[in-house]
């Protein structure tokens, strides 16, 4: 297989896009992504489809796919570091859904999506233990998925309330990317939450990040909460982003030679409330290698 440095040049530039998951578009005041695409095509250059195979695609995602518009496949139901999680029925279902979506690549939070078996009631999302051995296991999962399905697999840094281990989260995913020879999806909002929880400055650790491996960036808003003296941020995809999220995005985006896609995760907010965010991103992308709407078709 060619190296990632070679393979990345075959990946399409998707531009600026949006995300969804099953049922998100029917939530009260949810973003009408079809209306967004119609009114502001450059804000909805592609759709990142969050997929839990037990649920499949909702009507909105199906509509998008039927139109043949660009998409990526964001998994929501695999623990990359658990070999048992790659069972044949799940892999078969993923292959069928991916065949239907025709994604440019696969990506997803590389964390614990469920404890125990993949069953109803077991779902959650926790970051991995940030240590070298867990990075090795994650990398094995990335390679297993890529080899089985034939798509690039970009691991993403997940959000969390509790981070354990002796590695900075950016060093952890740098190790995963190196061991799996893969690209990365860096979620600036998740990183901002991590930096705050750990008492770091927003840009701490970015100097060690393999910038040429970052293919996709996410931005999203979050909401602060407090529990018994513990302050944390819920990654609830509001339009109001932490200032640190913008700091990270503005520092990173112009430095990424292989940036192909940026997602503004705002799927549960009405159109008028998210336009300012899209305008801000469009301006920022002018200083990057990524055209706002690349017009790739699967």
């Amino acid at each position: 297989m060619a190296s990632f440095a070679e393979r990345v040049h075959t990946l399409p530039a998707l531009g600026l896009g949006i995300s969804t998951e099953y049922g998100a578009s029917t939530a009260p005041d949810a973003l009408d992504i079809l209306a967004l695409r119609s009114a502001h095509a450059t804000y909805a250059g592609f759709l990142e489809v969050g997929v839990e195979v037990a649920k499949g695609l909702d009507d909105t995602a199906q509509h998008w796919v039927r139109e043949g518009w660009p998409a990526t496949y964001h998994f929501l139901d695999v623990n990359l570091d658990e070999a048992e999680d790659f069972d044949a029925p799940w892999l078969q279902a993923v292959a069928e859904i991916a065949e239907h979506i025709q994604p440019a690549w696969m990506c997803g939070d590389a964390g614990l999506w469920h404890f125990g078996r993949r069953e109803r009631g077991h779902m959650l999302l926790l970051p991995p233990i940030l240590c070298a051995e867990a990075a090795r296991s994650q990398a094995e999962g990335v390679v297993r998925l890529r080899d089985t399905l034939g798509y690039e697999v970009l691991p993403e840094n997940p959000p969390g309330h509790v981070y354990l281990g002796d590695l900075h989260i950016l060093d952890f995913y740098a190790q995963v990317a190196d061991l799996a020879d893969t690209g990365l999806l860096l979620d600036c909002a998740h990183l901002a939450i991590y930096q705050r929880l750990m008492g770091h400055e927003p840009l701490t650790g970015l100097d060690g990040t393999p910038l040429d491996r970052v293919v996709e960036l996410h931005v999203a808003g979050s909401t602060p909460h407090e529990h018994e003296g513990f302050t944390y941020w819920e990654d609830d995809h509001t339009p109001e982003m932490l200032a640190e999220t913008w700091t990270i995005f503005d520092w990173l985006a112009p430095k990424l030679p292989n940036l192909k896609a940026v997602v503004f995760e705002c799927e549960r907010n009405p159109l008028h409330s998210v336009l300012a965010g899209f305008e801000r991103l469009t301006t920022a992308l002018e200083d990057t290698v990524l055209p706002p709407a690349a017009g790739w078709q699967p």
Binding site: F115, E119, C131, E133, A134, V162, H225, H227
Partner: protein, 294 residues
């Protein structure tokens, strides 16, 4: 440090998030609380580095899980909720050894919850074993619901020598003769509530039909199945002869041998082979092209 250690550590994190009392014990004495988990001293130290309240930040985590479980155990759950301090008893599931073992050993929470509902915690004075009986039925339903449908082998691979056995989506329960009727009566009552099954189960003023205690032995076989592409799991009573035939089919054997068994039970030869063929058509019996090695 081995990868299995990092995975074990992450499972402990999950347990601490669901069980505040366990979380407290870990902070108080990590070595003692985690004596049966293969962790290094450094990993145990990592666990108690965050603020303890960080583990409980999602205050609704266990409520969501319990909601999901009650959706799968509406009948046993409805009875349990109606016991004194019923909700608290149910919430204690996340502090049980069964739950912790389920998380630590990558098990099934529904199976662990079913076993918990069958425990002494839910024995009532008037109907001492009712919840346990209903939990047994709903555990079987939860089990067959989770079996992944497997495609039938190619027709050309099936010969007269191909063994057939009980399909993986079928469970045979040995139960008290009144269990099936009681289960259906309670379920029907919940379905008549007007809300969802979960809402009905949790609506404690909503009266469930009275029943009588299950006296005597478990002597009836119940067939619980979730046939691929069907609407959902079903629960059916069986004649003794059919029960015997299907019990025998737990060990795969040739169709001719199954027919011979049916004949030995008194069927005419044609009747026996028709009955077996019907079970195959209904996918209660499934071909096993590669006989199991005993």
């Amino acid at each position: 440090m081995a990868a299995v250690s990092a995975m074990a550590l992450q499972r402990v994190v999950v347990r601490m998030m669901y069980d505040p009392a366990f979380c407290k014990r870990v902070y108080a004495n990590p070595e003692r609380a985690l004596h049966d988990v293969p962790l290094t001293p450094q990993e145990r130290q990592w666990l108690v580095t965050p603020k303890p309240s960080a583990y409980g930040a999602d205050a609704y985590r266990s409520h969501r899980a319990l909601t999901g479980l009650l959706e799968e155990f509406p009948v046993a759950g409805a009875l349990a909720v109606r016991l004194p301090r019923g909700i608290q008893r149910l919430q204690q599931f996340f502090a049980t050894r069964a739950f912790h073992q389920c998380v630590q050993a990558r098990g099934s929470m529904a199976a662990a919850f079913g076993a918990y509902l069958g425990s002494e915690v839910f024995r009532s004075r008037n109907m001492p074993s009712e919840i346990a009986h209903m939990a047994t039925v709903e555990t079987a339903i939860a089990y067959v619901r989770r079996v992944s449908p497997t495609p039938l082998p190619p027709t050309e691979s099936i010969t007269t020598e191909t063994p057939f056995g009980l399909a993986p989506w079928v469970v045979l329960l040995t139960a008290h003769p009144a269990v099936s009727a009681r289960y259906h009566r309670l379920l029907a009552s919940l379905q008549q509530h007007g809300g969802s099954l979960l809402e009905a189960a949790l609506d404690t003023p909503y009266r469930l039909p009275p029943g009588s205690a299950f006296r005597g032995k478990a002597t009836t076989l119940i067939l619980v199945s979730h046939i691929p592409d069907s609407d959902g799991p079903t629960l059916e009573g069986m004649t003794d002869d059919l029960g015997k035939l299907l019990t025998a089919a737990k060990t795969p054997m040739r169709l001719s041998d199954l027919s011979a068994l049916a004949e030995a039970m008194g069927c005419e030869p044609e009747e026996a082979s028709d009955a077996v063929a019907e079970l195959v058509d209904a996918r209660i019996l499934n071909p096993h092209p590669h006989p199991a090695v005993s």
